[in-house]
């Protein structure tokens, strides 16, 4: 499916995140003491320094902070997708992550609400894409 290097599923710290993606969920650690949701994965909370934290399934909802549109192929792997947009999504739980938008670039704008949808990158390895929560046409 992909010829690019895949995430290291054996990384004990981050593997729950990658495993959740393959099951169609975005999971991040939530601090048991202060409730801060963190990404990237870490052994302790960067806000209150409490160790540990439970892996929680997030809502998959957020808003577009900004986005870049790839009109011409810059890499053979993505040539067939052009034009496509990659957004920096501000998740409602706080973290910001990148994700490819499934909507046509001309329908996007900063601040619009989006929701995650999931694809398989390779056997057992998933990835989150995003689509507008409500397409502008509807």
């Amino acid at each position: 499916m992909t010829t690019l290097p895949l995430p290291d599923m054996s990384d004990p710290l981050a593997s729950p995140h990658w495993q959740a993606l393959s099951q169609g969920r975005i999971a991040m650690q939530r601090c048991g003491a202060c409730g801060h949701v963190r990404w990237p994965a870490a052994l302790s909370c960067p806000e209150c320094l409490t160790e540990g934290g439970e892996w929680n399934t997030l809502s998959g909802r957020g808003t577009i902070w900004g986005y870049a549109v790839y009109e011409t192929p810059l890499h053979p792997e993505f040539a067939g997708l052009c034009p496509y947009a990659v957004a920096l999504v501000h998740l409602e739980e706080g973290p910001m992550i990148h994700g490819r938008m499934l909507d046509p670039p001309e329908e996007l704008d900063c601040g619009l609400p989006v929701v995650a949808v999931f694809e398989q990158l390779a056997d057992g390895i998933g990835i989150a894409r995003f689509r507008l929560e409500q397409s502008r046409g509807s």
């Binding site: 986005y67 870049a68 790839y70 009109e71 810059l74 890499h75 990659v86 957004a87 501000h90 601040g111």
Partner: protein, 375 residues
């Protein structure tokens, strides 16, 4: 430490390396060639250097262990920064001198990323699978999209940066890009990663830069007018990667306030501004965050000629990373030194007293330095 100690440190020698003497030069070879030029410029021998501050490339080349061996130096103090962008390296050297660890410091940077491939051209791990195939271009595009959303800016507002810096580069014989660029030419370029165009992104180049810094007392004996470090401040926004302010560099205003306070200066004292510009949107963001333009007003300010030769705030007068060459902020400082020495020929800023350099590192660290000629 004497709170005024930083006021007594000056740059007395500069060196640049832009061409291979023989094929196959590595990052360290450029740094070494630049160091040789800086020593000659300062009129000193390496035996007078007792401090070494080097800046690594993102790929890890150019550390003090390697450079010290290549230079045959056994200094009283040496250190390496992973994120030099020149500003940070200068601040460290000033602290070393002020603390008495060394009194004459050589600073070096060299890179072979032009021939080896750009350090910023690839995204690691998962992000490539989103289709983010160029880190700097992708960041620039989504940052400018955000800027447009916040301020209603046009693509011509962004283009004003590349056009203005090209105009400066036409006055710099050492600039790599010396073909005229008008806003019409700019807007006719196809997008690279929309909404940014090829002229919005710096290329990757080989080269090196070096500085000699010493106490102002010693600097009086050197051949050139010493360029005094008049003020400095930093910020390290490392704790929260999800802080949207990082992507807009808003905290650079606070860094500028603190740097100006250490110099006892105000914004209107700044007669030359050098902003580190791997991508043009960094310039819009910082010109505003630093307090020199209204939010959303930087593009119009530049297009109106206010940052051009004869304007009220000449900006990136070498052509910057976009048009001179990409050297992680180091050539910006060389330009400041040459301007304050009055050695810039056709692009010389008249009646220049104080210059500011502003730089950021991966939108997390920020740094501002102020310089003036110690006549």
């Amino acid at each position: 430490m004497d709170p005024a100690a930083q006021h007594s440190v000056a740059i007395v020698g500069i060196g640049a390396a832009t061409r291979q003497a023989v094929p196959g030069w590595r990052a360290e070879d450029y740094a070494l060639a630049a160091a040789r030029a800086a020593l000659a410029d300062a009129g000193i021998d390496k035996s007078q250097v007792n401090g070494l501050v080097t800046c690594k490339t993102l790929s890890g080349a150019g550390g003090d262990i390697v450079m010290g061996r290549a230079l045959g130096l056994n200094p009283a103090y040496s250190a390496t920064l992973d994120y030099g962008t020149c500003n940070f390296s200068i601040h460290l050297a000033a602290m070393v001198i002020a603390a008495g660890l060394a009194d004459t410091v050589l600073l070096t940077y060299g890179t072979d990323q032009g021939s080896r491939g750009g350090d910023f051209s690839r995204y690691g791990n998962h992000d490539i699978h989103h289709g983010m195939v160029d880190a700097i271009g992708s960041m620039a595009a989504l940052m400018f999209r955000r800027y447009q959303y916040l301020h209603g800016a046009s693509e011509a507002d962004l283009g004003a940066v590349a056009v203005a810096q090209r105009r400066w580069a036409l006055l710099n014989p050492d600039a790599l890009h010396r073909e005229p660029l008008t806003i019409t030419d700019y807007l006719a370029e196809p997008h690279y990663i929309a909404p940014v165009r090829p002229s919005d992104i710096a290329g990757f180049h080989d080269g090196g830069a070096a500085l000699i810094m010493t106490s102002l007392r010693r600097a009086r004996d050197q051949p050139h007018v010493p360029v005094r470090l008049a003020g400095m401040a930093q910020t390290a926004q490392l704790g929260n990667l999800a802080n949207p302010d990082n992507y807009e560099r808003r905290w650079m205003g606070d860094v500028a306030d603190r740097a100006l306070a250490t110099a006892g200066a105000k914004r209107s004292d700044v007669g030359l501004l050098m902003i580190q510009d791997p991508a043009s949107v960094w310039v819009l963001q910082m010109l505003e965050a630093l307090g020199f333009a209204e939010p959303g007003g930087a593009g119009a300010m530049i297009a109106a000629g206010e940052t051009a030769l004869g304007g009220k705030l000449p900006l990136n007068t070498s052509g910057g990373h976009l048009s001179e060459r990409y050297m992680w902020g180091w050539f910006h400082i060389l330009e400041i030194v040459r301007q304050l020495r009055g050695a810039c020929g056709a692009r010389q800023v008249a009646d220049l007293h104080m210059a500011m350099h502003a730089s950021t590192m991966v939108a997390q660290k920020g740094s501002v330095s102020l310089f003036e000629a110690a006549l």
